[in-house]
Subunit: 296 residues, 2 copies
DNA sequence: GGTAAAATACAACGTTTGTTGCATATGATA
DNA sequence: TATCATATGCAACAAACGTTGTATTTTACC
């Protein structure tokens, strides 16, 4: 294990002061860290050649409340192994309400960071790369994201408009969401974003696109999402959050990576497109860097 | 995951033939394979939102003797990944272009994850907590985010509409963006989101809000952002990305944390509001879990 | 609208879990 | 060798486990 592991360090440093049985238990735990999380304490004790109570006593010897703390620690290590994030800052501070708020914030943010980091798994990277290829080939990219996924769809579309005119954002008032597909065909691709619960309208439009022969690239939350069946290629993102709501941060990250990959296919073209956009917005006086005087 | 996983494949292939509860259980298992090995069945069922017996029934539905077969399988997967993962990370035998794409993706995602993780610094957490308090006190929250920041503003507003009627999204066609502020006053708060380059219109509206006596909470990208001078309270997020474009993922994460903190102030109220929203959307037939038959 | 069948919730079962108090074994000191 | 403190094994405990049969709800069809 590359990352710092405070519990392991503690076991090692206290090892010399342990009784023979405690040492045997401790040695087994250090040499088989995953097993701790995967089997029961009694079975672990059996495999280590030690009484069950020895495990409990080891935990107390280490200053923990009980064996479950040992197990919880090792389970956490497995959960976070892929991400490499060991930033376990257990510093307590502030008033009660503030502390609760700070803890919730920290849990949420760490969870989000971990989920995005998890997207660096080889399987995800391959899908991202394939999706970027597919989108690059397309004559036109239709971007669809309703309800909570609107933010992701719109952001992708917005960034792409800085690069050129390739995307159409499927959205609009008065039930005209799908109108953009009127002249869409087999040379085009639909980038559909939808997470559980899946907006019925999104699925209907994806189905329609499929029937019209469009390629479909999906950003969704599960291998069993209804979009997976419709799409040629699906990129999966977690939406779990430590709060009441689903998170879209990983989905947004995915869309940003797609934009980055697309821009990277022709860096020079991307650069000059961005400069052109800059000039245009400059001439429209869109941006400011200081507090403006109010218009009359 | 690249490696073959027969049980996972089996779950996916039989998914369509499952009852709703079985699907929910199966979905959770597919999306949280590690958890299966790390927690008890009852806890897994709790997290998946199903009865414990549903897990047993899922196992039998898959042709297994009982739930323990599912757990054993996932434990084995974890045991094998330890050796498999490091080895796989080394053998990059893809094409050059693919590798470049994968590397760019990885760099971008790791950067995003790190930036979000950095928001767990005590200073950021305090600001988040204070911002949530300020927003909770307000009679009404006006949400402003133009151009690239639209996605963040809209997402915040969307989530908040699930909780109640407290927010107004400042947006609209035909230059009516600011109209929502017509009846705004000193009891209200403006949540303004803007990053470099700062949209002139955002700053003008923030200025107007200030003059009308509104409190201002800002999500922006720098201590020297023009919004910092206008706002009572500013939360800072990084927007650096390894690509041509700025990233909004950290800003989105911040807005999600704010939503989480606000919902957490009265968990019961939040829960019942969410249930009410659920019922409403259900009665409108907004969501689906399977590929829909096309409307005529 | 009524009915049969499928799906689901519930409650109780016998196990197994992690823990604890107590009896026994061990080994050092006098 | 006697004595004592520590280390270890054992047995019993409540709690939580995975499972199962039954009651209830939901669904689909006539």
């Amino acid at each position: 294990m590359l990352q710092a592991d405070p519990l392991r360090d503690r076991i090692v440093s206290l090892f010399d002061g342990m009784s023979p049985q405690l040492r045997q238990a401790a040695r087994y735990i250090i040499e088989h860290p995953q097993e701790v999380a995967l089997v029961s304490m009694r079975e672990l004790a059996r495999n280590a050649g030690v009484q069950p109570s020895t495990m409990t006593r080891l935990a107390k010897f280490l200053g923990l409340a009980g064996y479950d703390d040992i197990r919880a620690h090792h389970a956490e290590a497995i959960r976070f192994r892929v991400d490499g994030f060991a930033a376990r800052a257990m510093q307590h501070e502030d008033s009660e309400q503030d502390m609760a708020a700070a803890q919730l914030s920290r849990r949420m943010l760490q969870g989000l960071a971990a989920q995005i980091a998890r997207l660096t798994e080889p399987a995800s990277l391959e899908r991202l790369s394939a999706a970027a290829d597919r989108l690059a080939q397309a004559r036109r990219i239709f971007v669809l994201g309703l309800r909570s996924c609107h933010s992701v769809a719109w952001h992708f579309h917005y960034v792409m408009t800085l690069l050129g005119e390739k995307t159409t954002h499927l959205d609009g008032p008065a039930d005209t969401v799908g109108d953009g597909l009127i002249r869409a065909g087999a040379e085009d691709v639909l980038l559909a974003i939808s997470i559980n619960p899946y907006a019925l309208h999104s699925l209907e439009l994806a189905q329609l696109a499929r029937e019209k022969g469009l390629g479909i690239v999906a950003i969704t939350d599960s291998e069993v999402s209804p979009l997976v069946g419709l799409a040629d290629l699906a990129i999966l993102c977690s939406t779990e959050s430590q709060s009441f709501f689903h998170t879209l941060a990983p989905a947004l990250a995915i869309s940003e990576v797609l934009c980055g990959l697309l821009a990277n296919k022709d860096r020079n073209a991307a650069l000059s497109a961005l400069q052109r956009a800059d000039r245009h917005l400059l001439s429209l006086n869109t941006y400011a860097t200081a507090i403006p005087r109010r218009r009359i």
